[in-house]
């Protein structure tokens, strides 16, 4: 289908082709005929692309700002450096973070007869994001749902992902168009292998994440595990511990542990707040590289031990086990 109008109601809508927003749209006639409401013809090409990808995993939350993109980035780099082939799909159309935090803001998606080539962010890791397609970096992406769905479809249908061990899909907060479309297409195109759900310790986050877990249940998405991010803070100056985002008063279990128990899903671990992790995102590099660079800059023999890196590495290993993706022999 050609590029739809800004106020597109979606080809599946009863008013498709006839609504006010359809005037002047190149697809109006097709939609009005009802032809677009049948089986989506894009399912077949999406299925073809997904066939060479061993596992597809969503990174979800429900709550914004909990670290979905940060976790996607670190998992991508960590798993890629274990010599597995990883694709990162940035399904956050309005607020795409992955290009910045992987250091590829100036990346470009090259197109050929084969399709759209992902931007290489590391030796074994490729990324697609709407950020790469914007004419200017700060341009707002003011898309209603159907246009966002169109972009997601492009990412699944037109990108030459090739043979991947793992496709990680970073999502925006919420449970709306982007989530519905991604899940629907993946499930029609061979299946979705599950989701990692991220929370932070506060109740205000837990409430949103509970809704996300219910969304997973209703949509038959297996929750591979819950990660609790921003869980405790160790001052880099004095090593004193604080709880910046306190968990529920009187609770023995942390927020993530409680959710895991309530929904009977695995708890993958807690990741503490680490200014190094934040700075690695600011500078667009993997946390490990950032720590090594810091060590070199300060004349230290070894990088400082980061509890966040330890926790992230454990989440990556745990995830691979749950996905039944053995780690190849390392050279």
């Amino acid at each position: 289908m050609d590029k739809a109008n800004e106020h597109c109601v979606g080809p599946q809508s009863e008013a498709a082709g006839k609504a006010k927003g359809c005037e002047g749209c190149p697809n109006a006639q097709l939609c009005a005929s009802g032809a677009a409401r049948g089986t989506d013809p894009d399912v077949a090409p999406i299925t073809n692309r997904m066939a060479s990808i061993r596992r597809k995993v969503l990174v979800l939350s429900g709550k914004g700002g909990v670290g979905k993109s940060t976790l996607t980035k670190e998992l991508g780099f960590t798993i890629g450096r274990l010599n597995l082939q990883v694709g990162l799909m940035d399904a956050d159309i309005c607020g795409p973070s992955l290009p910045r935090i992987t250091g590829t803001l100036t990346g470009e998606i090259h197109t050929s007869n084969e399709g759209w080539e992902p931007v290489a962010v590391d030796d074994n890791v490729g990324l697609v994001s709407i950020q790469y397609l914007l004419p200017t970096k700060d341009e707002a992406v003011i898309f209603r749902g159907p246009r966002k769905n169109g972009v997601i479809k492009n990412f699944l249908k037109d990108v030459t992902w090739g043979e991947l061990d793992l496709l990680l899909v970073d999502t925006p907060p919420g449970t709306s168009d982007e989530h519905l479309s991604t899940v629907s297409y993946l499930q029609q195109a061979g299946g979705c292998d599950g989701a990692i759900v991220i929370t932070t310790p506060q109740e205000v986050a837990v409430a949103d994440v509970r809704r996300e877990l219910n969304f997973c249940r209703k949509s038959n998405i297996e929750v591979l595990g819950i990660v609790e991010n921003m869980s405790g803070f160790v001052c880099p100056n004095c090593r004193g511990e604080s709880e910046i985002f306190p968990t529920k008063k009187g609770s023995v279990l942390s927020a993530g542990e409680r959710l895991a128990e309530e929904f009977r899903v695995p708890f993958l671990g807690k990741i503490p707040l680490d200014p190094s992790l934040m700075m690695s995102c600011e500078q667009g590099e993997p946390l490990r590289d950032h720590l090594e660079a810091n060590a070199r800059d300060t004349g230290k023999k070894e990088p400082v031990v980061s509890p966040a890196l330890v926790a992230l590495t454990a989440v990556a290993t745990n995830l691979l086990k749950r996905l039944n993706l053995p780690i190849p022999k390392q050279p």
Partner: protein
């Protein structure tokens, strides 16, 4: 909506920077200063306002003409989809058009009455909810936006897009607030830029928008919100309360009486 003197939209673009925090602190603060205040939560998927305002799970009644009577707390009128859910943990899995219809109803079918200011909390992004809200408020006088950012570049990237959005859709900008701006370690009093630093001020300069101030990370604010307690009431002498108050005063100065 005609009887609502000022509409104050709290936006970000980035999730988790504290839109709902700022929206609720503004509402509570303005009410304390004698204003008639309402707060509308148009975050359909992740409604946080009821929890922060301490009115989670309350029922909304239908009044005259079938209009919804908002929930009240300390005289502040509050509306959110959270009140209409049978079960607070239900996911609201709606595509754009359904969310739009809900937002329109919240603006026209709620008995807001005569308010000095209606604070509108939004979800992150620049999509259906934001487009519909701006379309509904177009032409309404005394409408303005407060944009919230975090200090880090990845937040500022999204907020830049939000500022572009406001300009494109003709939504006047009252100013920018930088939230989670540093953490003062209680053990050594060192101020740690947990979420980096400086992004908000730079952004305000780049976009020629008033920089209203910074709010530091304060675990007591996070706890107060989880418990539905008014933070500034509980810790009035705190640095955080002073920062919030300064921002409040500047915004109050931009409202018509």
């Amino acid at each position: 909506m005609e009887a609502v003197k000022n509409k104050l939209v709290v936006l970000s673009g980035k999730g988790g920077v504290g839109k709902s925090t700022v929206a609720c602190q503004l509402a509570l603060g303005l009410a304390k200063r004698g204003k008639k205040v309402g707060i509308l939560d148009i975050d359909i998927c992740g409604p946080s306002v009821p929890k922060i305002m301490g009115v989670e799970g309350k029922d909304v009644l239908q009044g005259e003409g079938g209009k919804w009577v908002p929930v009240e707390r300390d005289g502040i009128k509050i509306m959110s989809i959270q009140f209409l859910l049978e079960n607070a943990s239900d996911a609201v899995v709606w595509r754009g058009p359904r969310k739009d219809a809900c937002i329109k109803q919240f603006l026209t079918d709620v008995q807001w009455g005569g308010l000095d200011v209606l604070v509108i909390d939004t979800p992150p992004g620049t999509s259906d909810e934001h487009i519909t809200l701006c379309e509904c408020l177009k032409g309404h006088p005394n409408t303005g936006a407060v944009v919230v950012t975090g200090p880090q570049q990845v937040a500022c990237d999204d907020v830049r897009k939000e500022l572009s959005f406001c300009r494109k859709l003709g939504l006047p900008l009252h100013g920018l607030v930088e939230n989670m701006s540093g953490f003062v370690c209680p053990h050594c009093a060192d101020c740690v830029p947990v979420f980096s630093s400086g992004g908000g001020q730079q952004l305000a300069t780049d976009y020629n928008v008033a920089f209203l101030g910074k709010i530091p990370i304060d675990p007591r604010l996070a706890s107060a919100e989880d418990e539905g307690v008014h933070f500034a009431d509980a810790f009035p002498a705190s640095e955080t309360a002073k920062c919030i108050n300064s921002i409040l005063q500047q915004i109050e100065g931009k409202l018509v009486s």
